[in-house]
């Protein structure tokens, strides 16, 4: 079934593939991987630090998986993981896999989940720039 969690540091490679996600009735897997960029608003980004209200974030990820199943396909399986702490450009910070009977539900649920994470997940991104300054982002 659903597997969700907050992970210390960049996401390990084992979470980037949807291993063991499918059930025999599933015919599609949609995945989204968010990756740290090396630029933002024309500024060079050296690294990020993600802060998190962990108990709430873990509860919310589990709730979002149930919400996606209710909304798109009661039989879908979702895995959602977000990394926290320091991350460098190119490293994966969030990964979502959705397995469903058909592609439309898989794509729609995957898109829905990343948008809901952007709206509500209590995680905050502090960007560090190549001029030595840093900034907490307000929404993304």
């Amino acid at each position: 079934m659903h597997q969700c969690g907050i992970i210390d540091g960049p996401l390990p490679a084992t979470l980037l593939t949807p291993a063991a996600l499918c059930a025999p009735a599933h015919g599609a897997i949609a995945s989204f991987i968010g990756v740290v960029r090396n630029h933002h608003n024309g500024r060079g980004v050296t690294h990020l630090i993600y802060d998190c209200y962990r108990p709430m974030a873990e509860k919310l990820l589990a709730d979002l998986a149930l919400e996606a199943a209710t909304k798109f396909d009661p039989e879908l399986h979702a895995t959602i993981h977000h990394g926290i702490g320091r991350m460098d450009p190119g490293q994966p910070s969030v990964v979502i896999h959705v397995a469903s009977a058909h592609r439309v539900a898989a794509f729609d649920a995957c898109r829905h989940l990343i948008e809901r994470i952007k709206e509500d997940l209590p995680v905050w991104k502090q960007e560090f720039y190549d001029d030595g300054t840093s900034l907490w982002l307000k929404g993304s």
Binding site: A57, L137, G139
Partner: protein, 82 residues
């Protein structure tokens, strides 16, 4: 009236200079009541505080909810995960 801990994160923690405060709230409080209590502690950061949402026991709240000494309250600045 219950005395509770309010947790601060990210830019709120940096600007308020601490990661939590103890505040007294009524037994039924909405988000505005929580934000008002935090504003009293940090009057120079009212604009930042007013941009935050409030969570009680890991759930966003807007309208009134029951508050006890064991409630965990958090100020949630605009999120930027993903």
């Amino acid at each position: 009236m219950p005395e509770v801990t309010v947790l601060y994160f990210a830019q709120a923690r940096d600007r308020l200079g601490c990661d939590r405060d103890r505040v007294t709230l009524p037994t039924s409080a909405d988000a505005n009541a929580v934000l008002s209590a935090v504003r009293l502690r940090h009057p120079n950061n009212a604009a930042l505080i007013d941009r935050c949402r409030v969570a009680v026991d890991c759930q966003f709240i807007d309208g009134p909810v029951a508050i006890s000494d064991h409630s965990e309250i958090a100020l949630i600045p605009p999120v930027s995960g993903g």
